[in-house]
Every structure is written in structure tokens, then in C-alpha cells.
């Protein structure tokens, strides 16, 4: 080594001449490092990169899906709201119409009822008048004969008398009808 050093120094060693052992160590060192990088380091990093990319893209896709879903739900709600409003309006209109209908029906019914009541009253009145007529007709003959016999029993010439008889008869009649009314 010493000899070589001296020789080198004597020759003024050329800095461009390499030492082959250094060359060898460099090549082997690089090869070892390259092997480690290819075998372990690079796959690990690439795997992480790929996973990260996937995670981010997956997240974005998921968010987009959620957004789309939310939009769809919003649209649906809006449509439902519109439908509900239309429905409510329709129902209100219907109710109004129905109310009017009911009112009209009631009015008609009331009118009919009142007409029926009036008619019934009329019928009753007629019936009672008929009864009164019948009973009057029955009694008028008797009353007339009764009165006539009394007038005849008394003196028909005396006007005062006859008028008194008539009055008495009438008052009798009144009391008898009153008592008859009481009995009835």
C-alpha cells in the first residue's frame, strides 16, 4: 500500500482514474438499495397512494350520491306539498259546495215542512169546520123546533114577549153550549 501510494504520488495520480473497488461498492450498494425500493418501499407507498385515492374518490362518490338522494327527497317533498295544497283547495271548494248544497237542502226541507204544516193545519181546520157544520146542522133543527115550540107555547103576538123568549132561548143556548163545552 505504501509502495502504491508512493508510486501514485510520483505519477501525480490522475484524479479521473477510479478505484475499481469503490466502483464495485457503488454498484452493489445501488443494486441493494434498488432491490429494497422495488421490493418493499415502492409497493407500500403505491398501495397507500392507491388506497388514499380510492378513499377520497369513494368519499366524493358517496357524498354525490347523498346529495342526489337529498335533492330527490326535496323534490318529492315539494311535489307532495304542492299536491297537498291542491288537495286542500279542492277539499275546501268541495266543502263550500257541499255546505251550500246542505243549506239549500235544509231550506227546501224547511219550506216543505212549513208547507206540510200549513196544509195539515188547513186540513185540520177544514175537518173541524166540517165537524162544527155537522154538529151545527144536527143541533140547528132541534134548536129551531125547540124555539118554535116555546114561541108557540107563549103568545106569538106579543113582540116583547117573543123577543124575550128569543133572548132567553139564546142565553139558555149559551149556557147549554157552555156546559156542553165544559163536558166536552
Amino acid at each position: 500500500m505504501l509502495n502504491a501510494a508512493i508510486m501514485a504520488a510520483e505519477e501525480g495520480s490522475n484524479p479521473l482514474i477510479p478505484n475499481l473497488w469503490e466502483l464495485l461498492v457503488t454498484v452493489v450498494g445501488f443494486a441493494v438499495l434498488l432491490f429494497i425500493v422495488i421490493k418493499y418501499v415502492m409497493p407500500a407507498f403505491e398501495k397507500t397512494f392507491a388506497e388514499r385515492t380510492e378513499a377520497i374518490e369513494g368519499g366524493i362518490a358517496k357524498a354525490e350520491a347523498a346529495q342526489a338522494e337529498a335533492n330527490a327527497a326535496l323534490d318529492e317533498y315539494k311535489q307532495q306539498l304542492t299536491e297537498a295544497r291542491t288537495e286542500a283547495n279542492r277539499i275546501r271548494e268541495e266543502a263550500r259546495a257541499e255546505g251550500a248544497q246542505i243549506l239549500a237542502d235544509l231550506k227546501a226541507k224547511a219550506a216543505a215542512e212549513s208547507a206540510r204544516i200549513t196544509e195539515q193545519a188547513q186540513v185540520q181546520i177544514d175537518a173541524e169546520r166540517q165537524t162544527a157544520l155537522v154538529s151545527l146542522r144536527a143541533e140547528v133543527g132541534t134548536l129551531a123546533t125547540d124555539l118554535a115550540s116555546r114561541i108557540v107555547g107563549e103568545s106569538l103576538a106579543d113582540d116583547d114577549r117573543s123577543s124575550r123568549v128569543v133572548d132567553r132561548f139564546l142565553s139558555d143556548l149559551e149556557t147549554s153550549s157552555q156546559s156542553a163545552g165544559a163536558i166536552r
Binding site: 500500500m1 502504491a4 501514485a8 478505484n19 469503490e22 445501488f30 434498488l34 397512494f49
Partner: protein, 273 residues
């Protein structure tokens, strides 16, 4: 470096600038390899640092990528950022297409291999950029030369050699001049510059640091008040150069990787150029 420089300055009269030999450390084992000698067997500090860099890079990235979680921790984030930088800023942007991933491990490995080995030059006690030794720079450039020529041949077959040296749409009289230029440029100048660029910048930076250090040691050691005072200026310049050197270390790792990516891309799409 100061310890190395001192013998040179004490045995001779006046200041003797450290030579390139002085920028290298004694071998760790007695049968150490010699700088500038082709076949001297040995194991030196430079080789140790090379192995250390492999261990450091492998350990860091193995730990950083071990527990891969969707939400990364600090270490995983650091590892992912480093990997993602090479993968996207260099691999994807330069090579592009669908198959850039195939070459990302090469770019990733070489970037951190060169980066860490360069940074060694800025770390006290380690203090030698590994690629300031030409052997390592040649080796790493040769690996990529073989890689991109191989990619070209695999992709285009033997036609690749024609595609690489004969530009399309050039009239034939000019081709007589252009083809030799292209051959020299693509297959000789490219790999040589690829390695020498890295080697030369690292060696130059290392030399400057060594020079400044030994100069300070010499000036302080003279006992002259004037020289001792002046050494402060050297120190300021030294620190500035040190910072510049640190920047260049990172930059060269990037440039080396970027050029490797450009060469690979050129080989892949030789028919499009």
C-alpha cells in the same frame, strides 16, 4: 481535514495547498484502496460511507413505509413526500405516460442515493461527499447509461440505434456531419458528462472546504497576529462556501436524477424526437 493538512504545512516552508490526495482519508483497514489507482484492493472511508448511505436510506424508507395509513403520521408523511416528489415531479412530469411507474424506483433510488452521499460532505466528521471519488460517479452514471440504452433497444429493437443518431427530416448531405455528432453526443458525451458533472462539483466543493480549512489552520499556526486576524476573513468565506456547497449537493442530486429521467424518456420515445 485539518489534521491531514497540518503535516503538509509543517514539513515544508510556507503554505502548501492541500492536493487532491489530501482530500482523502487514511484507510480504515490496513489494506485500504488507494485513490487514483485502478486495482488497489482495500476498504476506505468512502466505501464505508457508501454502505452507510444504503443502510440509512433503506432503514428510513422501510420504517416510513411500514405502517401505511390513509392519514399518515409524521414519519410516513415525510417518506411519502420524498417518494412523491421523485415520483411526480421527476418521473411523472418528465417520463409521463402510463409506464413511468416502471422507472420510478430507479429514479427514486438514485436520487436519495446521490443526495445522502452528497450530504455526507456537509456533515462534520463524515465530511466527504462520496461522489467526489470518480469510481462511484462513473459507476452510477454507467448504470443509467446501460439502463436507458437497454430501454431504447428493448422498446425499438435495433432500429433504436438509427433513431438515436439520425434526426428525422434532415437532408442527407447534412446527415454526414450530423450523424457523427449525434453518435458522439448521445453515446459518449452524455454518460461522461453525467458522471463528471457530479464528480467534479463534489470534488471541487470538497477541495474548497479542505483548502479553506487548512489555510485557517496554517494562518492560526504561524503565530503572526496579522495572519491570525486575516484568518477570520477566510473563516467567513469558508462558511459561505460551505453553505453554497450544501446547496450544490442537493442540486446535483436533483440534476443527476432529472437527467437520468430525461435520458430514459428520450430512449422510450426515440421515434418521436
Amino acid at each position: 481535514m485539518i489534521a491531514l493538512a497540518l503535516p503538509a504545512t509543517t514539513t515544508e516552508e510556507g503554505f502548501i495547498a492541500p492536493t487532491i490526495e489530501d482530500t482523502h482519508y487514511p484507510n480504515i483497514f490496513p489494506w485500504g484502496g488507494e485513490y487514483g489507482v485502478l486495482l488497489e484492493p482495500g476498504f476506505g472511508k468512502q466505501m464505508l460511507l457508501m454502505i452507510l448511505s444504503v443502510v440509512l436510506i433503506a432503514t428510513f424508507f422501510l420504517i416510513a413505509s411500514r405502517r401505511n395509513q390513509l392519514v399518515p403520521g409524521k414519519l410516513q408523511f415525510l417518506g411519502e413526500s420524498a417518494y412523491g416528489f421523485v415520483r411526480n415531479s421527476i418521473g411523472k412530469d418528465i417520463i409521463g405516460g402510463r409506464d413511468f411507474l416502471k422507472y420510478v424506483p430507479w429514479l427514486f433510488t438514485v436520487f436519495f442515493f446521490v443526495l445522502v452521499n452528497n450530504i455526507f460532505g456537509a456533515i462534520p466528521l463524515l465530511q466527504v461527499p462520496t461522489f467526489s471519488h470518480p469510481g462511484s460517479a462513473y459507476a452510477i452514471a454507467a448504470i443509467f447509461f446501460v439502463l436507458w440504452v437497454g430501454i431504447g433497444l428493448k422498446k425499438h429493437g435495433l432500429r433504436y440505434l438509427k433513431l438515436a443518431v439520425v434526426p428525422a427530416g434532415v437532408p442527407w448531405p447534412i446527415l454526414i456531419i450530423v450523424v457523427p455528432i449525434e453518435i458522439i453526443s448521445n453515446f459518449i458525451v452524455r454518460p461522461v458528462t453525467h458522471s463528471l458533472r457530479l464528480f467534479a462539483t463534489m470534488l471541487a466543493g470538497h477541495l474548497i472546504v479542505t483548502l479553506a480549512g487548512s489555510a485557517i489552520a496554517y494562518m492560526v499556526g504561524t503565530g503572526s497576529i496579522l495572519l491570525q486576524g486575516t484568518s477570520v476573513l477566510v473563516l467567513i468565506g469558508f462558511v459561505a462556501m460551505y453553505m453554497l456547497e450544501a446547496l450544490i449537493m442537493v442540486l446535483q442530486a436533483y440534476v443527476f436524477t432529472l437527467l437520468a429521467a430525461i435520458y430514459i424518456e428520450g430512449a422510450l420515445h426515440a421515434d418521436a424526437h
